[in-house]
């Protein structure tokens, strides 16, 4: 059998991303995600219920404040399901961000003692949330039946929007994880950033409030594309959010690729920094 040859040379400047190596370590990726999920189930009393409680309670609050009191327009869809449809991917995104921001810092003992592709860590941090996502999504389906909403043919595009959610979460997650190693300030700033981001995303209001070209520019926030996509595919909101989607998809992919390159560039300093 041909033996693998490893070369250790100084790392300077931009490095190439070895996707094959990550693929080789896919088992580790899953087992790290599984570890965090199973620990949460062992530690918490409510376990998987938290996946539902978080978006559901937020939805109730939003429905009272924005739906009932502020009479926010919701594209002629009942406000609770209008906001919950957005909160399912949004909660996944927020959890991914929180988990990834700590993924490197909290694994410092692993990083300084064992070799594996470090990108695995933010990847698995994002994976952790997928289970919660599907639990919350299941509740969404129940709500749709409750409100008697029948999805249109657009439903077949849903997998694409789920993929876009993953890409966006991964992209921002990698950035946050990397920056958090060097700038611990980010840890404190993250809650505010997330809060501001939420209001910059069409969660409590529809993006139809904005006129073109602002609406397309709005797509630079990848999560607005995701959420408009979800609403369109599931609830059949009037028009296909084409421009937003294209801008969001390109932004998300660009962020992911740049994030991975930046990660690789500073990867070699992690063991020294942590």
């Amino acid at each position: 059998m041909q033996k693998k040859i490893h070369t250790r040379v100084p790392a300077r400047g931009w490095q190439k991303i070895n996707l094959y190596e990550i693929w080789e370590h896919r088992e580790l990726l899953f087992i790290l995600a599984w570890r965090d999920i199973s620990i949460r189930y062992k530690q918490t009393f409510l376990g998987g219920l938290w996946a539902v409680i978080q978006p559901f309670v937020t939805m109730v609050i939003f429905s009272i404040i924005f739906g009932k009191l502020a009479k926010m327009p919701s594209d002629n869809i009942p406000y609770p399901i209008f906001s919950y449809t957005a909160l399912v991917p949004w909660t996944f995104f927020v959890n991914s961000l929180n988990k990834s921001s700590l993924s490197l810092v909290n694994s410092s003992n692993l990083i300084s003692k064992v070799y594996f592709p470090r990108l695995i860590l933010p990847f698995s941090a994002v994976m952790i949330g997928t289970m919660d996502f599907f639990i919350a999504f299941f509740i969404l389906l129940i709500m749709m039946i409750f409100y008697g909403i029948i999805p249109t043919i657009a439903l077949i595009f849903l997998p694409f929007f789920i993929l876009l959610t993953l890409i966006s979460s991964l992209a921002i997650g990698i950035w946050v994880a990397t920056l958090n190693v060097k700038f611990y300030d980010l840890q404190n700033a993250l809650p505010f950033i997330i809060q501001a981001w939420m209001f910059a995303t069409p969660i409590v209001y529809p993006s139809s409030l904005l006129k073109e070209p602002w609406r397309s520019i709005y797509g630079l926030n990848p999560m607005s594309g995701v959420i408009e996509g979800f609403r369109w595919a599931l609830l059949g909101t009037n028009s296909f959010p084409g421009a937003i989607l294209i801008v969001s998809s390109i932004t998300a992919c660009m962020l992911l690729i740049c994030g991975m390159f930046y990660f690789k560039r500073v990867e070699h300093t992690f063991a020294d920094f942590l």
């Binding site: 693998k4 490893h6 250790r8 040379v9 790392a11 580790l28 199973s38 070799y115 300030d185």
Partner: protein
């Protein structure tokens, strides 16, 4: 085919140590630096000069080649760069300069229990830790029973690890790591886990790996283990390789020159320890051929030689030699009272005396010697020297031969041999 498995060329590793000791750079610092970079170029140059960043070479100019199947022991004091070197080979740390080529799959045992989580059961942790160490799921399933049996925790395998005793924890952790299927095994000071019986098993396991023709790089402060396992040694000091050669020479060199307590010490008269009446000139360990030694083979006799100068004393003082082991247990003391001439008609003279210790007396380990020289009448202590010299007591028989019922470490503070009368059909 290449017949080396590890090849290092001019490897160096530099660390920057900030004077202010910030572990994390703050955003403020980074922004300031950038602002300075763009706005005041002239100021920047002075800034760089004044900014105190200490650069430390943890490793410098490290070059060596390890052939396939070699078992190399890395020896050196704390901070000599041993662990950094292993981390570079393992790929955890990137070198600052140089190049290293490693052929084959690397297994890295820098810490026992890498990735262990207290809330998971033993079974779950085997899979977790195994994956982190690079074992595939299929391999873990195949080796699962072996891992559990080796760790001796069969009945606790489905208990959360947080309820384990520290020994059980360490055993399980080592066991997972020991079953990695690798071409090159990197081991850093992990043998200190568990009880003596388990340590013996660990050594045996590494022996087994080595006999398989796989390459082992081994760091330990346990000289006996290094001497037994390795056939080649590298002595590191201050980030550089000082010596590369046969393990026995390396260990001897290390014990003699790079240990806190050497095996031989001499003083010039003006700086020698003692009072006005007694001045110690030298103390050393020697074998029966009167050669200096740093370690003793526990079955052979050896001597502790002291040379001192006496000024204006009526009676010869008494020298007492104390033997203390690494756990600070006082093993025994011996004195020269019955061997002294009562009076000598000289006011100033030198004495050279040797205390001969029989073979088959010491147990394995590091032994420290304290020396005292006193007069009895009138009672006066002339000299007390703690940790005067030290030596390593080593049992050089093969691992198999001494395993016996107790493993490589015979119980008890000393290991004397006595006469036994054995009669059959009495």
């Amino acid at each position: 085919m290449n017949n080396f498995s590890v090849k290092l060329e001019n490897i160096g590793k530099q660390y920057q140590i900030k004077k202010r000791g910030h572990q994390y750079g703050t955003l403020k610092e980074a922004i300031n630096r950038k602002i300075n970079y763009f706005t005041c170029r002239k100021k920047r140059q002075t800034e760089i000069k004044t900014e105190k960043v200490d650069k430390i070479w943890a490793l410098k100019n490290i070059s060596f080649t390890v052939s396939q199947g070699e078992i190399v022991g890395l020896v050196g004091r704390n901070g000599a760069g041993k662990s950094t070197l292993l981390k570079i080979i393992a790929g955890i740390v990137t070198p600052t300069c140089g190049k290293a080529v490693i052929i084959g799959k690397i297994g890295c045992l820098l810490e026992v229990g890498a990735g262990f989580h207290p809330f998971l059961t033993g079974r779950e942790n085997i899979f977790l830790s195994g994956s982190i160490l690079g074992l595939s799921r299929a391999d873990i399933i195949k080796k699962f029973d072996e891992i559990v049996a080796f760790a001796e925790i069969e009945s606790f395998i489905d208990t959360q690890v947080k309820y384990y005793s520290s020994g059980m924890y360490a055993r399980l952790a080592f066991s997972v790591a020991a079953h990695m299927i690798v071409d090159i095994l990197i081991v850093d000071e992990v043998l200190s886990v568990g009880d003596i019986a388990f340590q013996k098993k660990c050594l045996g396991k590494i022996d087994e790996v080595a006999n398989d023709g796989r390459t082992v790089l081994f760091v330990s402060h346990n000289m006996a283990a290094i001497q037994r396992l390795c056939n080649r040694g590298l002595l590191l000091y201050d980030g550089k390789i000082v010596m590369d050669g046969k393990v026995n020479n390396i260990v001897a060199q290390y014990l003699d020159n790079y240990c806190d307590t050497p095996s031989k010490r001499t003083w010039i008269y003006s700086k020698s320890p003692g009072d006005d009446h007694v001045k110690l000139l030298s103390i050393r360990l020697k074998n029966s051929k009167k050669e200096n030694i740093q370690s003793i083979e526990i079955r052979e006799s050896f001597g502790v030689e002291i040379v001192y100068r006496i000024n204006n004393l009526q009676k010869q003082p008494v020298a007492v030699v104390h033997f203390i082991n690494a756990q600070w247990i006082h093993l025994f003391s011996t004195h020269d009272f019955y061997y002294k001439q009562s009076t000598i008609n000289q006011s100033s003279y030198e004495v050279c005396e040797t205390c001969w210790l029989p073979g088959k007396l010491f147990n394995q380990g590091r032994i420290y010697i304290n020396l005292e020289i006193s007069s009895l009448s009138p009672k006066k202590n002339h000299l007390t020297l703690k940790d005067a010299v030290s030596f390593e007591a080593i049992d050089q028989r093969g691992l198999e031969e001494i395993k016996g019922p107790f493993g490589n470490q015979w119980p008890g503070l000393i290991k004397p041999e006595f006469k036994w009368d054995v009669k059959t059909n009495y």
